[in-house]
């Protein structure tokens, strides 16, 4: 049995087993490894993707619940201005959480193009960065349109 998935504007026929997560399918079956696995149980935000424009944790989203909602991963945001503002502001160190940070931030600036510091802190609090790039992440989001 196959499931149809729309990811970054492309259609895929997935043969994912029942119980497979969206993350496993993206990384394993589709080869989209930009979305990272860091905790695998919905606590860290590294696996964040957009589902119909809404940020979700793909490691705890079952692939068969996606339905016809469009999936956007970091690969679909490669030319987003946030990618450049993150590099400019030095908002990444090891970079492992960064795709998830940028996906979350993309949803924020889509909804609130000029977010305040408080709005950034509220919206981004689910994305853990162990290197502690937070001050620069805040700056990258504040200056994303520069």
């Amino acid at each position: 049995m196959t499931t149809e998935l729309t990811v970054n504007g492309q259609t895929y026929a997935s043969r994912a087993e029942v119980g497979a997560t969206l993350l496993e399918t993206l990384r394993g079956e589709l080869g989209l490894t930009g979305t990272k696995i860091a905790c695998g149980e919905g606590h860290c935000g590294a696996c964040t993707v957009l589902l119909g424009g809404v940020p979700v944790l793909s490691c705890i989203t079952l692939v068969h619940t996606v339905g016809d909602r469009e999936v956007t991963t970091i690969e679909g945001l490669r030319d987003h201005p946030l990618v450049h503002s993150f590099v400019r502001a030095d908002a990444l160190q090891c970079g492992f959480c960064t795709p998830g940070q940028i996906v979350s931030a993309a949803a924020l600036v889509e909804a609130v193009p000029e977010p305040s510091r408080d709005e950034i802190r509220h919206h981004m609090a689910g994305n853990i960065c162990r290197c502690g790039a937070y001050p620069r992440i805040e700056e990258a989001i504040l200056t994303w349109r520069d």
């Binding site: 990384r27 490894t33 930009g34 979305t35 990272k36 696995i37 860091a38 905790c39 695998g40 149980e41 606590h43 860290c44 590294a46 991963t73 970091i74 690969e75 490669r78 990618v83 450049h84 993150f86 590099v87 400019r88 030095d90 990444l92 160190q93 090891c94 970079g95 492992f96 959480c97 960064t98 795709p99 940028i102 950034i120 802190r121 509220h122 981004m124 609090a125 689910g126 994305n127 853990i128 960065c129 162990r130 290197c131 502690g132 790039a133 937070y134 001050p135 620069r136 992440i137 805040e138």
Partner: protein
Amino acid sequence: MARLIKTEKEVEGRYEETWVVVEEDVLDQWPAGPLTVVGRDAERKDGLERARGEAPYTADLTFPGMLHAAVLRSPYARANVKRLDLEPARRAPGVRAVVGPGDVHVLTDEPRYPGQPVAAVAADTFRQAREAVRLIEVEWEELEPLLDPDEAVARGELVEEPRRYERGDLERGLAEADVVVEAEYRTQTLLHNCMETHQSICRWRGEGKLDVFISTQFIWGVRERVASQLGLNPDDVRVVCEFMGGGFGSKNGPGDYTYIGAELAKRTGRPVKCALTRREENLATGNRNATIQRLVAGAKADGTLTALGGEYVNAVGWSGFSPMTGGPMQYLYACDNVRVVEQGAKLNTPPNAAFRAPGFVEGTFGLECLLDELAARLDLDPLELRRRNHLDADPEGRSYSSKNLLECYRLADKHWQRRDEVRARSEGSWKRGIGLASQVWFGGGGPPSYAWVRVGADGRAVVVTAMQDIGTGTRTAMAQIAAEELGLPLDRVEVTLGDSARGPYASISAGSSTVPSMGPAVRSAAADAARQILEIAAQRYDKEQRVLSLKNGHVVAEDGGSWPLGSVCELLGDGQILGTGARGPNPTGMRVLTFGVQVAEVAVDVETGEVRVERVAAIHDVGRIVNPLGARSQVEGGIVQAIGHTLSEERLIDPETGTVLTQTLDAYRMPTIADIPEIVTEFVDEPDTHLTNLGSKGLGEPPIIPTAAAIANAIRDATGADVRSVPVTREEMLRALRERVGALTA
């Protein structure tokens, strides 16, 4: 000329003397201050790749036929396996191999800490491997675990001989003191929690050749240890780490998972990935061990320290090492009478591992809180107390290669002067205050380390060296150094690293050693390439070589004339200029240390015990700064981690069974973006004129060292309460406040 010398090597505070062959370090240092490329902000060379999710981390790699491993780990702190039946796992779907005790040296039927590996499975998918592990039948005999560090010390259960350091006579120093303070401090066990979990892929080739793709901080260390353990020629072990997702000291070696993967790969003839889950990560990849610190300090009425004593217990775990928790007491202050004893308790808890300035983070918390308790008793300004006890010369008679701690204090003064204004902002139950703490650490790096620089007909340069970039911006810093020496813009220099088969030996990325160890080797290789370019240019343009130099992508002659580098290099055709360089020796008989001071501002709700850090000013002296942008990020990252260490993070174990209770990231509470204060970073940025051709020391560790004490001292300033235990949870804060009230009413 190559020279054989005996040199002192230091990693994370552990010194060893070794023979090394070094090249002469003949280059004069560059002048201080920002140069053309070095000393100026540079964006990360690999920033786009990482940000776009294109960078291939070990976690992202896959190979044809690759199997996935899962590991059965002991659920008990101390147990014996009475009976083990691997057959049900062997028969499970997708399973290709199963190994148990006796098959791999890291698998045991006598686990002595929770999470110790017992058996492992390789299967077509990770899910299948994990399911098969669940089918393994084990009959356990549970044994009483030893969990109390004081009890372990009393019973002589230690991981190594106690370390003792003594100068002068502590008892005499205490007798001479006008004021003596004594206190016990405790720090908790902390988990690294790198975002990319520990993992590797092992792939055998031909006869006895092994490729290891691994998330590591030390490519060459993995090569050496794997070759030695498996009886292979080191050159037959290729170790690759192009990108890695954080290490913080926990990824310095191959880890159990690599040995398990290598055996499973050998048995199946297939590549095997052994990747830990987050829960395994929080059990079995090391930790910053808890400490108990029983400290005493004595001083004259004018603040002159007469005695410092520390009895330190490191709760190391089943194995690992006993860190230099007494190091700050030994290295930070002028005091004639110092005695330090460190004991490393051997417990039925997971082994520790280096974690960003191991020992010094914990020891600085105790010592710098004690100094403030002393300042309060003496009614002296805490910054002034530190100035008065500044250590001008190393007590062992070595001179410092450079030391600008007094300059750090001077730069800190304007932040310290905010004291009255901050206190005045106290409001209702929220009390505000300021605290500071000093920092000392190693960070000088050392030989050996090598680099090659390749310049082609296009006039572009590539630095080739088999080092790793653990996320600290190494590629960028090395490219800056080569660009500066070659007179090239930064975008014409690339760095190739991460593969032991494709570049020379390079230093470990730990102990704040990457820039001080690798940077001089890269500069020396670039200088060698530059010399060759100028030799060719001298012939091409009929000039004397001594009047030529490389600037802004041009060959420039002092007596007139300037030619684009490309016009010289195009003569090469398919030829290449190959420069080689090596790290020179450390200055003989000198102590190479890093210094700094941080000033923290906090707000404490005395009704609920909530603590908020509002501002941290960090001033550090680490020699020449190569990339100020990346350096500021390092400082901020260290302070963010330190805030977690101080206020929220703690690995908890069940006090009866030793089971680790905090295996998930909701239970182990790391800082988020919502917890971050304003951070102000300043550098002294004076090259260490005695240290290498670069004058740079390392910066990875210094910024995490003084933060906890600065916060605790700010809490005392705000509330009068002495917090002596981290994390400062609300319970600890309220306990300290009650103790304060008790002391005032008694």
